[in-house]
């Protein structure tokens, strides 16, 4: 090897090492902390293991899975979760996009207003849950007081089985509408002004501009926002745990809540691992959809 080739070889080797040192630790951490527990719980899902009782662990095959899939309550909890997700994300989408349209043109104090609206989503769901349990209290809560100003009757927000789920949805809406607003706004601000100017020359109507320019250009980001929200809302645990604990009865029992109960109240660890896997498969399906959309957004 002559000098030059040796230098190139050295350089490539150096680069390889650098790559290894730079990426290696991250991959190691992620593999150990993600793959390992997943494999472990996959193993547990085929046993009758309980983290409370120290009895002999025995292999039970697919019986955990079949018990969960045959449990009518599980399907009810999936329905509850779906209803929560659809109501919350639907309203978040409409309100968030509407707000973004309102805030599209900058005015005095624009920066402050947009930043203030973003604060709710940066707060801890637990803390938000407390805010709202206090505000929604049937007796001294300020929400009922505000409604009474409009002549409306007292509402038992968190204890009436017909309302509790929507009360939780309302809080999710309070917390996450700003997210949809932010993403929509980012998209709206990125639309080139020249498109609107050209349409103005053609004397296009507001509706035409909205349908032919605004909507198509911002829709990839809207889909992104909605999918992020759907996946997150599907996993929702903290809000429900703090506000209703799944009650009254089981009307706000979401999938996450019932999984928590199975694992940490009933301590049926093996069975809960099986249920976790069923949920995981659903989430992976959802995530794949999301990633596909991200890539399409990027390509556009």
């Amino acid at each position: 090897m002559d000098g030059k080739a040796k230098a190139i070889h050295q350089k490539a080797l150096g680069e390889y090492r650098l790559k290894l040192y730079f990426i290696g630790p991250t991959l190691l951490v992620l593999i150990i902390m993600n793959i390992f527990p997943l494999i472990w719980s996959l193993g547990l899902s085929f046993t009758n293991y309980s983290s409370l009782v120290s009895k002999q662990i025995s292999f039970v095959g697919f019986s955990n899975y079949s018990r969960i899939l045959r449990d009518p309550f599980i399907w009810k909890y999936f329905q509850t979760t779906a209803r929560l997700v659809i109501v919350a994300v639907g309203v978040e989408f409409l309100l968030g996009f509407g707000l973004a349209l309102l805030l599209k043109e900058q005015f005095k104090g624009w920066g402050l207003v947009t930043t203030l609206i973003l604060v709710p989503m940066m707060l801890s769901p637990v803390v938000v849950g407390f805010f709202w349990t206090f505000i929604m209290d049937a007796n001294f809560g300020v929400l009922n007081f505000l409604l009474s100003l409009f002549g409306l009757k007292k509402v038992l927000w968190l204890t009436n089985p017909h309302i509790a789920l929507y009360a939780v949805a309302l809080v999710d809406i309070w917390m996450w509408t700003p997210f949809v607003m932010l993403i929509s706004l980012t998209g709206l601000l990125a639309i080139p002004k020249s498109l609107y100017e050209a349409a103005d020359i053609d004397m296009a109507s507001w509706w035409f501009k909205f349908r032919r320019i605004t909507l198509p250009l911002v829709s990839p980001l809207l889909v992104l926002a909605v999918l992020f929200r759907v996946i997150d809302a599907f996993k929702m645990f903290d809000l429900v745990f703090i506000m209703t604990g799944g009650g009254p009865g089981d009307v706000t029992e979401t999938v996450s809540m019932s999984l928590y109960r199975l694992a940490f109240n009933k301590f049926k660890t093996g069975e809960s691992c099986a249920m976790a896997y069923i949920i995981l498969i659903l989430i992976i399906a959802l995530s794949n959809l999301l990633i596909r959309w991200i890539n399409r957004t990027k390509a556009a």
Binding site: T26, T114, P120, L123, F130, F131, F134, V142, T269, I284
Partner: protein, 283 residues
């Protein structure tokens, strides 16, 4: 003209909707006992620091009169929150920046798949990984330790730090380090002396995002800690006196806990869209 007025009113309503709950809890933290439960609710009241004193155990005798049993556990748990959120953030940002640089500048085999794997770890529902972590941590005696929670939060934020930092580093022109390397710096030196200073605002934004996530996390803190390493979120819930839910003290705890988040939100407002979508959206 009328259009502007309607717009103004709608924006005003939105601000009221999003900010009133925050105002209300902060106001409650300064109210005296009877005022908190007043019907109709009191908008004008004489303020008191009572709940803050109770929260930080500054006036125990007086608290006993109001039926508060024992000391508030908030101070040590607040300290735990600072330690755990701080250290986990530091670790994830350091590791994340290194890998982001490598992904941004070198050809990495299966780069797309690796980045997808990294992102996918963030999609896992906490409750699903929570159960195996509980079992695993019990076996390793990591339950209720600072190290245990720091490790979890670091992992949780790492994927995010890689994605966000990659976006920031991609924007720094390659010519900068190439010029430095022509001047005789090694790649490592060029990274330290050219890239890091350029990426500083991105690193700061990433750190704030990681900090807020770790600061707000509830579920793992709930199942993996009990006494020594418990953070503030699960313990704000536990502030209960003999007179039922101690709303005054909860409001005070929540307010103290909110301050850093609100300050940080203002610091990273420019990067919010990027941060919330893993850097997929660039402005």
């Amino acid at each position: 003209m009328t259009r502007r007025i309607v717009k103004g009113i709608l924006i005003g309503l939105a601000l009221f909707f999003f900010l009133f709950p925050i105002y209300w809890i902060v106001a409650t933290s300064f109210k005296q006992w009877p005022d908190i439960f007043a019907i109709p609710p009191k908008f004008v009241f004489t303020s008191t620091a009572l709940h803050y004193k109770a929260l930080f155990n500054l006036n125990l005798e007086e608290m006993a009169k109001f039926g508060q049993a024992g000391k508030s556990l908030f101070p040590p748990r607040f300290v735990n929150s600072i330690i755990i959120a701080g250290l986990s953030t530091l670790l994830s940002v350091v590791l994340g920046t290194f890998s982001a640089y490598a992904f941004s500048r070198f050809k990495v085999k299966g780069e797309g798949d690796l980045l997808f794997f990294i992102l996918s770890t963030r999609m896992l529902p906490p409750i699903v990984v929570g159960i195996p972590f509980f079992v695993l941590y019990r076996a390793l005696r990591l339950i209720d330790t600072h190290v245990g929670l720091i490790l979890i939060y670091m992992t949780f934020n790492l994927s995010f730090a890689v994605w966000l930092m990659k976006g920031f580093i991609d924007e720094i022109p390659k010519e900068f380090e190439e010029a430095a390397m022509v001047d005789g710096y090694t790649r490592w030196e060029a990274f330290l002396k050219v890239i890091l200073p350029q990426a500083l605002s991105g690193i700061a934004a990433t750190a704030v995002f990681c900090l807020i996530t770790a600061w707000n996390e509830f579920f793992f803190a709930l199942i993996l800690t009990s006494e020594r390493a418990r953070t503030a979120p699960p313990s704000i819930a536990a502030v209960q006196g003999t007179a039922g839910i101690n709303w005054g003290q909860i409001a005070a705890g929540v307010t103290v806990f909110l301050i850093p988040v609100v300050v940080f939100t203002f610091l990273v407002r420019k990067y919010l869209a990027r941060g919330l979508t893993f850097g997929v959206i660039k402005r």
